[in-house]
Symmetry: D3
């Protein structure tokens, strides 16, 4: 019955990569905590790099600086 | 003073349907818990079917299989 | 398949009130958007009044002021 | 190590304004709670006015009414 | 740089199980999407069964019915 | 009309510190983006150190290691 929300920057993850992530996170919750896959919900949010900050800077700025 | 976040797959909900949902959820919190509508916030997130998983599969894949 | 998160201040909502809220929100999404109740997830978070702010003040402070 | 999620209506915030917001929220958590900026994450979500409700109405409707 | 929020019902997950979940989700994001583990944040929320609904019922009620 | 959710580890933030945080975040959104304080909502979640991971480890484990 778990609900998993994964937030990543929007930088080209493919539908295949996201499908794999959904499958493997669901399996992980079944294997480690015995959670039922049929009611496990996974939602992936892709966030623009202007809208994601770490260390007080947006990812857009960090990418330009080469970080 | 409640905050309600509703996540649904992006599959054509209209502005009218979303306005109705906002109104009725707000009324429900007033009627059941006595919450003040004027400070009740509702945010609807529409999520691409590639980014929503249930049962270990994306909704895109489930729709193709006819589930 | 919707996911609904309802945040309210922790001020004595009963198990019965929360069960009613879960049922009626689920019915609302079925009636307004045709969503399948069997995969509709509702999570209620009850938040201490020290940890909820509106208008720049915590709810604890507002309650003391009589707001 | 904080995680901050800021949701605002999508009404033209610029990359510069969002970068300033990220910086200042990160500084606030350092100054008030001693949190380490290097692991402080800020995510800004911009939400369509059709999808944001307050007082039982969408922001789109409120804007039209002049509220 | 991902942020992962895992919500589960509060039903006795141990610190060891949660530590394993944190480690494996972080590895999964590194392996599938090339995400940097050092800035991957995982937050686990444990939710009372009265506060979690699926199929229009709280988990407390479902457990009593033997579902 | 913004909604801000601040997640921090549960490590003794006082009611006064949280009240200050609520006030200053609300002022920041007014000053930088012109947002109306009266409808700005701030919710602070305090998370057990067993339930917060960064770098693939729980904060409990990191604290023991002296990180």
């Amino acid at each position: 019955m778990p609900y998993v929300n994964i937030k990543i920057t929007r930088e080209g993850a493919t539908a295949e990569q996201k499908a794999t992530l959904i499958r493997k996170v669901t399996e992980l919750l079944r294997d480690e905590l015995g959670k039922n896959p049929s009611t496990t919900v996974v939602v992936i949010d892709e966030v623009d790099t202007d809208n994601w900050g770490i260390g007080g800077e947006s990812v857009t700025v960090r990418r330009k600086r080469g970080s």
